[in-house]
């Protein structure tokens, strides 16, 4: 579901670290040791991880909206149940990732506040609308498929809690990817109208999914630090190419056409080559001008606001209950 945070430099104030501790830390990263919450870590490492992990969490939570859009119209009871379970998994991923963030010393409330204030980002892919049922297949097959490419390497990320969360998340995502492809396969083998839905979904999701890997390496902002610290392990273009090579044969097997007249297989390199990606679209969506940016944030803010009285009631009730228990214990 996401990669873009991997491409932002840490812009926080520079902190002068103790050179000896820094050297020890660098040596541990180089030796593929896991960094744990109580271990010393450079401030820039902590800040980069908080940004990356929280943006990943926000993406999971915002990503519930486009899929939630079809739960009430799922065309069979089985599909309805599977889609609900999938969205439930996304909520679970959001929870583990917010918990992983907390191990870095920042509360869930703080990072959610940053999202609601528009300071934190989430994956640009969720700013596109889900317009037909096949989008539930395309999101699983393509969006979760792209996410897996990004996230499998993060299972070996240097930060222990993030790496461990990612192992579990990747298992679930790969299940989502397969069930998404199965939706596409069923539609592609279905009626002409169903096949047209599948084609329409591929037409709309293909390019935005290629953009999920972030800008081309030549212009990527990411620092060599992220690579050295093993927070990021492969370049955007390498991961994108891996995704394209894996996905194009799957799409052709479905009998669908990719919305790219320049797509071709290069016999010499044994890679699929695409036409140019429209990076101006990517920049517009990141800048808040995608089809659904305003809607996704409005819904998230409204949901937080609507739930405030419930959360407050739970807090007040817990206090009342604790006070009564204390009183009983004293008697």
């Amino acid at each position: 579901m996401y990669a873009q945070a991997l491409d932002q430099k840490d812009k926080g104030p520079a902190v002068i670290e103790d050179p000896e501790r820094l050297a020890r830390f660098e040596a541990r990263c180089a030796a593929d040791e896991k960094i744990e919450p109580k271990d010393w870590m450079p401030e820039a490492y902590r800040r980069t991880l908080i940004r990356q992990v929280s943006q990943h969490a926000h993406s999971e939570v915002i990503g519930m909206q486009p899929e939630g859009n079809w739960v009430t119209r799922a065309p069979s009871l089985k599909r309805k149940a599977v889609l609900l379970s999938k969205i439930q998994d996304e909520a679970g991923h959001g929870l583990y990732l917010y918990s992983a963030c907390e191990t870095l010393g920042v509360s869930r409330e703080e990072v959610v506040e940053a999202l609601l204030a528009g300071k934190a980002k989430y994956s640009s892919i969720f700013n596109y609308p889900t317009l037909n049922w096949a989008d539930m297949g395309a999101i699983g097959w393509l969006v979760d498929g792209a996410a897996i490419m990004n996230q499998i390497p993060l299972c070996r990320c240097s930060y222990g809690p993030y790496a461990r969360a990612m192992i579990r998340i990747c298992k679930e995502e790969s299940f989502h990817q397969r069930q998404g492809y199965e939706i596409m396969l069923t539609l592609a083998r279905g009626t002409p109208a169903q096949k047209a839905m599948a084609q329409d979904a591929l037409n709309r999701w293909w390019w935005p999914c290629l953009m999920m890997f972030g800008p081309p390496d030549a212009v990527s902002e990411h620092s060599s630090e992220s690579m050295r610290w093993k927070i990021k392990r492969f370049s955007n273009d390498d991961l994108r190419q891996k995704f394209i090579d894996a996905t194009v044969p799957q799409g052709l097997f479905l009998g669908l056409t990719f919305p790219d007249p320049e797509l071709k297989f290069n016999e010499a390199t044994e890679h699929w080559e695409t036409g140019p990606i429209d990076w101006s679209e990517f920049k517009r969506v990141l800048a808040g001008e995608g089809p659904c940016n305003r809607q996704r944030m409005r819904v998230r803010r409204q949901t937080e606001a609507d739930g405030a009285w419930v959360r407050e009631a739970a807090r007040v009730h817990a206090k009342k209950r604790a006070a009564r228990q204390a009183l009983q214990a004293a008697e």
Binding site: L84, V316, H317
Partner: protein
């Protein structure tokens, strides 16, 4: 009417209530007050949709006309749906949703426990699974009713308003018509009257802790079992069935 007609109708009633309530809960997807509650509500919805699928599947087999779970769920109109009126009531705020869930579960737990002793082995087996699930629903929704009732002034007012609005649908749980009476007499369906005291005890306990007052209901509303619904069910089914019906015969 064939000998199995009452059993078919009875299975559909159980299925319809489970599906409609599960569908209502699924409308919360991505809108719950906390991420934990998003997960919990999805669980409740999944349990109910799963129960509905088992009851529909069995109903289709009893009928023997080749209708599967989707034909029964997606291709019947509101006049043919026989769910309880309570479950089709709109989600409202979180207090309405949790109160609705609590009232349904407070009835479903003892009712399904009694159904596990049915002479019909399939119904007894489905009930055994569903009873365990509904016991969790009762705990979860009951805890929320207590938190909201005994929380802030605002949450108390919202929980009380939810109870006031929904209490008129309680009596319908206990109505018995000729279809159901024949199954009660045959030892297939439990007599709902036999679980009334358990239901009332649960309500008294939870509402007491929640500091909520049970409103006096002079005239309970009913009609769901005859396909006479509130205005809300037609909209729910229109949304739920639209895609399936737009592509007759398609495989999803």
């Amino acid at each position: 009417m064939s000998a199995d007609a009452p059993l078919f109708t009875y299975c559909l009633r159980l299925a319809d209530s489970a599906l409609v309530l599960g569908h209502r809960l699924s409308e919360w997807t991505a809108y719950a007050p906390t991420l934990e509650e998003d997960i919990a509500i999805a669980n409740l919805a999944l349990d109910l949709i799963g129960q509905a699928r088992l009851f529909y599947d069995y109903a289709g087999k009893i009928e023997g006309q080749g209708r599967d779970e989707d034909a029964l769920a997606y291709l019947r109109d509101d006049r043919d749906y026989m769910n309880l009126l309570l479950v089709e009531q709109p989600n409202g705020d979180f207090a309405v949703t949790m109160m609705r869930q609590f009232l349904y579960a407070a009835f479903a737990v003892p009712y399904l426990a009694a159904l596990t002793r049915s002479k019909d082995e399939t119904l007894a087996a489905i009930a055994a699974k569903a009873e365990k699930e509904m016991a969790y629903h009762l705990r979860h929704a009951g805890e929320w009713v207590i938190r909201l009732g005994d929380g802030t002034e605002e949450s108390h007012a919202r929980a009380q308003a939810a109870l006031d609005d929904l209490a008129i649908y309680i009596d319908e749980f206990f109505e018995v018509d000729a279809v159901e009476q024949s199954l009660i007499d045959a030892g297939i369906a439990p007599d709902p009257a036999s679980v009334r005291s358990a239901f009332e005890a649960t309500l008294a306990h939870v509402l007491g802790e929640a500091t909520l007052a049970r409103p006096a209901v002079r005239t309970g509303q009913s009609g769901g079992r005859k396909g006479l619904h509130t205005e809300h069910l037609g909209h729910l089914l229109a949304e739920m069935q639209v895609l399936h019906r737009a592509h007759p015969g398609a495989n999803w």
